[in-house]
Symmetry: C2
Subunit: 352 residues, 2 copies
């Protein structure tokens, strides 16, 4: 697929914490791999940092001083504040922006994408389309830009990946040649990629795990102990599977044993901002909005919004499946019920 | 199955931390359930605690002051230092002793078991039989005492169960009527039991997770970060599945989504003594034997011995399956290789 004549060009659409960590990997890989252009562009939403433009700082110091300080980026990664120029001649578009920016970015890129380009989404989030049906971020991008999409998800705290801690990720891909090609630009000896053809389940895991992390955070806030927390994570995983199976009947159970499944769930339920804010929600009694503002420096929580979306979708479908944990997280976040009612998930199936 | 005439009698063979926590549950349950005798006996390996016999302390104060201090036991649980008298008229034998005591206990009980009695093992560990083949503790007991056996495993830190923290457990059972009956004596509103017919997988999970916990502890000791630890746990789970499948081809993937699978693995890899000692092994450079003596107050580590057993069994079978994590844990514990070599599991499947 990748010959030395083709010289596939990569553009990263996004340059936050995770985008910058991935830029380091891809920038290094294209230098040593055949078939790829050495020039990698990274779209930077321009902002002023200490009186300088962030894109210029990145290009002169080869470091994203705002979102990934302390990590040198390869010199062949060029920050570009103009979205269309960064992306228009790319063969591979790596989408890694907060999911609420996706529609705006797609609207700007529409009509400017190189024919034959492919995309891969690293974005964790879900949306509803105008009909109120769930829409994956990869679907939003694919239908807007008319490009085939893959997704990359896994237990990947960005800073640790940037520091070259060993880890894994799952590439969900509908086309195996595309999967092999994308695997090459992401793989390193410390970042191990497994390709699976179960795209929707991979992407859904990336979004749904944040709801389980909220439940885990509530448990931590109530000091429920490690048995209860492990049970909550397990029940959350089973509910994730049940939601995914009901929305994507062809999804496969083995996908949950990939990095995007159990591994990402574990990291998110022990670290992760959804867990952290949810714990603080119980301990402080402050609202999620206040805690978001106080603790996340402008970033947004994904868990509560995802719980709400799933709740509304399931409500439409008259709750054909039972997902008490997901319902409780929604109700605790949006309907003011007590976090302690989370424990009711243990009595929903009677024991005796 | 349980009529008010039959009055099934329960005996706990064992009275440690977990045995005492379970005695509390069963003691309370038989009082309110029909079909069970109120009298529960608990075999206590007699020892002197502060000048008094432990069995007498338990029977007068209704508290196992040595192994589960601070928790009141139901008054209908009677401690009994004589193994044969404690067990001989029981219809249900709940085995909950350290696994190295099983052969001795079975030898003493042989010939003294009530006809028709059934057993359930809460013991986590594995052994090899005389032919060097793996033998489950439930198999050892079943073949020695000629009684049908079930197993109960799950994410159950004893003290938290005794404090009535909500959690779950998995009952592995070959006979569904027996499963329903046993479920009744263990279930409470805070301790939720799921019955599965995949006994061997349930029991194997309980033993093998300790090997993964050693790897997780090594990772903690090397400060490898949360991505790496999550990846290690995931790889460990997949290797557990692969070992279990190769030894028990009829085992089912869905069992790993039960408490005995992912949930127990999570608790053990974040809490648990195998993880703790393995972390100390890396940080202090002391031997496992020294750390065991210093940190475990006479208890034994299960993880290293289980890794060794699995290693030997697989060696015999000429390593038909690849379980690099299990092999590394064995080699780190017994062959003096560096804990850092654990990271080689990430390069065993080549990426590019």
């Amino acid at each position: 697929m990748a010959s030395s004549i083709e010289q596939l060009k990569v553009c990263l659409v996004g340059s936050g914490n995770w985008g910058s960590a991935v830029a380091k990997i891809i920038g290094n890989n294209v230098t040593r791999l055949e078939g790829f252009s050495r020039d990698v562009t990274m779209y930077v939403y321009e902002e002023i940092v200490d009186g300088e433009k962030l894109s210029e700082v990145i290009n002169s110091r080869h470091e994203n001083v705002k979102y990934l300080p302390g990590i040198k980026l390869p010199t062949n990664v060029r920050a570009e504040p103009d979205l269309v120029s960064s992306a228009s001649n790319a063969d591979i578009l790596v989408f890694v922006v907060p999911h609420q920016f996706v529609p705006g970015i797609c609207a700007k890129l529409k009509g400017s994408i190189k024919p034959g380009a492919v995309g891969v989404s690293l974005i964790k989030g879900l949306d509803a389309n105008v009909g109120g049906k769930l829409e994956l971020v990869s679907e939003t991008i694919a239908s807007s830009l008319q490009i085939p999409m893959s997704v990359l998800m896994g237990a990947n705290i960005a800073t640790e990946v940037a520091q070259e801690c060993h880890c894994e990720a799952t590439l969900g891909c509908k086309n195996s040649a595309q999967g092999s090609m994308l695997k090459r630009i992401f793989s390193t000896d410390y970042f191990k990629i497994e390709v699976v053809d179960d795209l929707e389940a991979v992407e859904m895991c990336g979004a749904l795990k944040n709801v389980v992390a909220c439940a885990a955070g509530f448990a931590d806030g109530m000091d429920l102990g490690s048995n209860t927390k492990a049970a909550i994570i397990r029940i959350g995983l089973v509910e994730m599977m049940s939601i995914i199976k009901s929305l994507f009947p062809d999804s496969k159970k083995k996908t949950y044993f990939q990095s995007c499944g159990v591994a990402d769930l574990i990291t998110t339920c022990f670290g992760g901002r959804n867990r952290r804010i949810s714990e603080a929600f119980v301990r402080t009694g402050k609202s999620l909005a206040v805690l978001e503002a106080e603790m996340l420096n402008g970033q947004k929580l994904q868990g509560p919004a995802t719980a709400q979306l799933i709740y509304k979708i399931l409500e439409k479908e008259a709750f054909k499946i039972e997902v008490p944990l997901f319902v409780k997280v929604y109700q605790i976040c949006f309907e003011g019920i007590s976090p302690r009612s989370l424990l009711e998930i243990f009595s929903i199936v009677s024991n005796l």
